[in-house]
């Protein structure tokens, strides 16, 4: 029974994410594309929930949906000179399509040829508390990579502020 529920939920989320991605690439309106991207992000957050990655799902919503999408929308709106500029040509490219298709096909072949035939998820379920403990424990934990990641973020923040400063340059 739960297997079926899982399958149905996965099917919906997969449809949502792939459909959203396709819509994002095919819509001619940039603003709509950004909203479609948001939809994909939310669907992926759902996929994370399906994979019992509760914390990551919430971070996905908080970061990608809550922050990155809004940032995208802001930049789009700031770089449009007229409202009508939001409508853009479709930019279809057969070469790119062929390349991407080839890429996907090879990955598909690789996955199909691989030995990953794990049918069911293991019964052990990761939980948030263990995640936090592992993330911040000094021995065998991830605290140093985590600190480095925070440094990366800080540097990026400073860089972004510097770049987007209006005057004095």
């Amino acid at each position: 029974m739960p297997e079926t529920v899982n399958g149905v939920v996965f099917g919906i989320l997969a449809l949502a994410s792939i459909g959203g991605a396709v819509a994002m690439l095919t819509t001619r309106n940039v603003i709509h594309a950004a909203f479609w991207l948001l939809e994909v992000m939310l669907a992926v957050a759902g996929l994370f929930l399906l994979l019992s990655a509760e914390f990551l799902a919430l971070v996905q919503v908080l970061v990608y949906a809550g922050a990155v999408s809004v940032l995208m929308l802001f930049v789009i709106m700031l770089t449009l000179r007229r409202r009508e500029d939001a409508i853009r040509p479709l930019d279809a490219s057969w070469g790119a399509a062929a390349l991407a298709l080839l890429f996907g096909a090879i990955i598909y072949v690789g996955v199909a040829a691989s030995s990953f035939t794990l049918g069911a998820m293991p019964d052990e379920v990761p939980d948030v508390e263990a995640l936090g403990t592992l993330l911040f424990s000094l021995d065998g934990g991830w605290v140093f990579p985590f600190e480095i990641a925070s440094l990366v973020l800080l540097v990026a923040l400073v860089g972004a502020v510097w770049w987007s400063k209006e005057e004095d340059r």
């Binding site: 709509h32 909203f35 908080l62 949906a65 922050a67 999408s69 809004v70 802001f74 948030v128």
Partner: protein
């Protein structure tokens, strides 16, 4: 079938609560602001005007739903829902009492913030799709403000998470049980670090709600009604409703984090065990009344003042508060360990 019921009933309850809350809050806002302005507010429909809101709802429901010509139709229709749904979802983790809540989550606090972070998207959607410069400006202002103040809001909560050691809202409330010195309730608002955190939370929360003194997004004198300018009838109603619902959620979060949630001090817990939700609602409405009090008292700040307050004051303060909390906890721990 009971599984399905267990899912659907709480959702229906949340929707009901949200709608009732909206109706009640409109009346309350009118009355509170009226009395703050030394006037009476609505008086004619029903006893002391209690039915005024009901009449307003009727008006909203029956009005013609106008869709202006140039709007981006899909987004224009989606926007009210995009504002309403996250606001509704946020009720899921609020603990009205130890047992009265829609779902129990280990990460309830994070969940609430994640859901609330989706609100600006709906606002942007509404602002953009309206094809109206007031709406667009209002929407962008509101979104920028909410994005900016989400950061200090989240950061101000982290000391509480550190002190109580959990993201679970129920655990945070139960961490506030007991007394300091035998009579001071262990509410985090009475904790020296928690007090500073609560002040930051109050300011950031007000900004997050686009409430006076931070209501640039719908400053009537500048932007008509902000991102909601072009909306009418029930779509407008939804936007309005979710705004009231948001202030309910922020107030409820504040009550949970700093004022002991559904508990009452000095009264044995089993006496009030069954009226926990009532206590919680009362506290929440007192919090909302404080918001309204501030709204009726303070003038509006300028947008650049708002931004610099958020980025240059609140974020550094809350970051250092986190650091101080960590150090203080280590010190206390080592002192305890020694003695």
């Amino acid at each position: 079938m009971s599984d399905v019921l267990r899912v659907i009933l709480p959702v229906l309850a949340a929707v009901g609560l949200m709608l009732t809350n909206g109706v009640v809050l409109i009346y309350m806002l009118r009355k509170v602001l009226g009395h703050l302005h030394l006037r009476l507010g609505p008086m004619h429909v029903g006893w002391h005007g209690v039915l005024q809101t009901v009449a307003d709802v009727g008006k909203l429901l029956t009005k013609e739903d106008i869709t202006p010509n140039n709007v981006d139709k899909a987004l224009f229709f989606l926007a009210p829902a995009a504002v309403f749904v996250p606001s509704l979802m946020a009720y899921a983790a609020i603990p009205f009492s130890e047992t009265w809540r829609i779902t129990s989550l280990d990460t309830g606090l994070l969940y609430t913030f994640a859901v609330l972070s989706l609100v600006p998207i709906g606002v942007l959607m509404a602002g953009w799709s309206s094809a109206n410069k007031w709406a667009l400006l209002g929407g962008m202002r509101a979104a920028a403000q909410q994005i900016a103040y989400e950061v200090p809001l989240l950061l101000s909560v982290l000391p509480i998470v550190m002190l109580s050691g959990s993201l679970d809202l129920v655990e945070i409330v139960s961490a506030q049980g007991g007394y300091w010195l035998g009579f001071v309730p262990r509410w985090f608002v009475l904790h020296p670090l928690g007090f500073i955190a609560s002040l930051i939370f109050l300011v950031a929360g007000l900004a997050e709600l686009n409430q006076t003194p931070f209501d640039m997004s719908e400053a009537e004198s500048e932007l008509v009604a902000g991102f909601a300018s072009e909306y009418s009838a029930m779509k407008f109603g939804l936007l309005f409703l979710s705004e009231f619902s948001n202030s309910f959620i922020i107030s409820a979060l504040g009550i949970t984090l700093f004022f002991g949630g559904w508990t009452l001090p000095w009264i044995p817990a089993d006496w009030v065990a069954h009226i926990g939700p009532i206590i919680f609602m009362l506290k929440t409405y007192i919090g909302i009344a404080v918001f309204m009090w501030i709204r009726g008292t303070y003038p509006r700040v300028r947008i650049d003042q708002l931004m610099s307050l958020g980025w240059k004051r609140l974020i550094p303060i809350s970051l250092s508060l986190i650091m101080v909390t960590g150090i203080a906890m280590k010190v206390v721990e080592s002192v305890r360990g020694v003695s």
